[in-house]
């Protein structure tokens, strides 16, 4: 080592300090400078000597901290985005599953002779937890609806002579012919059970949830 702190340059072309360079400069001058981003900067931007003692003990590189926190927040937001997309597809898959469940070739409900004109009978369709009601207002007409009121899911009761289906909980009324709400709190029609008459037999072939 010399007094300037630099090693003397070995002039040989294949010396270790030159590392294959063809010029006469030592390889060390090609080393990258110290990365300025590695220098700690206090929040107020003043040099380290002017900072309080506690900050010397707990240095905070404010620009680096800002960069890292925003980067990590962005990663978290992308994860949140993934969660929302999963939720969206969960709704879609549930809807697809429900619509598949309603597709049946037909479930026998009763014989036409079992339902006299003006009478009604209950049944469960498509599962045992879905109560429905089958009504025969006239000799030529058969209608079936879900028995759950679209207001708060009370069991509705057909009143064939008045041409309505009534919900006793909050005095909601539905039109017997269409299942649409005509009075009271319900705003949506009753779910319609699709019927298929095969000879003397009545079959349920699907459920149609309706909004209007």
């Amino acid at each position: 080592m010399t007094e300037q702190g630099r090693e003397p340059l070995d002039v040989r072309i294949d010396s270790a300090a030159r590392e294959g360079l063809t010029g006469t400069a030592p390889a060390s001058i090609y080393r990258p400078l110290l990365d300025a981003e590695q220098v700690t900067v206090a929040p107020d931007g003043r040099p380290v000597e002017m900072q309080p003692a506690w900050r010397t003990d707990f240095p905070i590189d404010w620009p680096q901290d800002q960069y890292v926190e925003r980067r990590d927040f962005m990663k978290f937001m992308v994860l949140t985005s993934l969660a929302f997309t999963v939720g969206q597809f969960w709704i879609a898959v549930r809807d697809w599953w429900r619509s598949r469940r309603h597709l049946t070739s037909g479930t026998r409900l009763a014989s036409i002779s079992d339902v006299p004109v003006g009478a009604a009978r209950t049944f469960a369709y498509p599962t045992e937890h879905d109560p429905c009601v089958l009504v025969r207002p006239t000799a030529q007409t058969l209608v079936a609806y879900s028995q759950k009121c679209t207001h708060l899911s009370c069991a509705v009761l057909p009143q064939v002579t008045d041409g309505v289906i009534r919900c006793p909980c909050h005095e909601g009324l539905f039109d017997l012919a269409t299942g649409r709400p005509i009075a009271g709190p319900p705003r949506r029609p009753l779910s319609l059970v699709r019927l298929d008459i095969r000879g003397d037999e009545i079959f349920a072939t699907g459920v149609e949830d309706r909004t209007v």
Binding site: A36, E37, P63, Q64, Q66, Y67, R70, R71, F73, M74, K75, M77, V78, T80, S81, L82, F84, T85, G87, Q88, F89, I91, A92, R94, D95, S99, R188, D209, R210, T211
Partner: protein
């Protein structure tokens, strides 16, 4: 002659801020989509479910693309 110089930290912070603004807008849009779709689904309206799922997926892909760019930025720094 073009030189591919890595971004400085200040430049990267600006880029991340911009990307974060986009990501936040997209996430808010997705939140709105989710609540609107759930509302429609529970109300018996099934027509919007799959289109909304498609739009939400597109938002996720955009966000994932931005995140991928962020990782590339990090790689070029090293």
């Amino acid at each position: 002659m073009s030189v591919n110089r890595p971004f400085t930290r200040a430049q990267r912070t600006t880029i991340v801020n911009g990307m974060l603004a986009f990501v936040l807008m997209l996430v808010v849009l997705q939140l709105w989509l989710l609540t609107a779709t759930m509302n429609a689904y529970l109300g018996g309206d099934h027509s919007v479910i799959w289109p909304a799922a498609g739009v939400s997926l597109a938002c996720l892909l955009l966000n994932a693309g931005l995140l991928r760019y962020l990782y590339r930025l990090e790689r070029t720094r090293k």
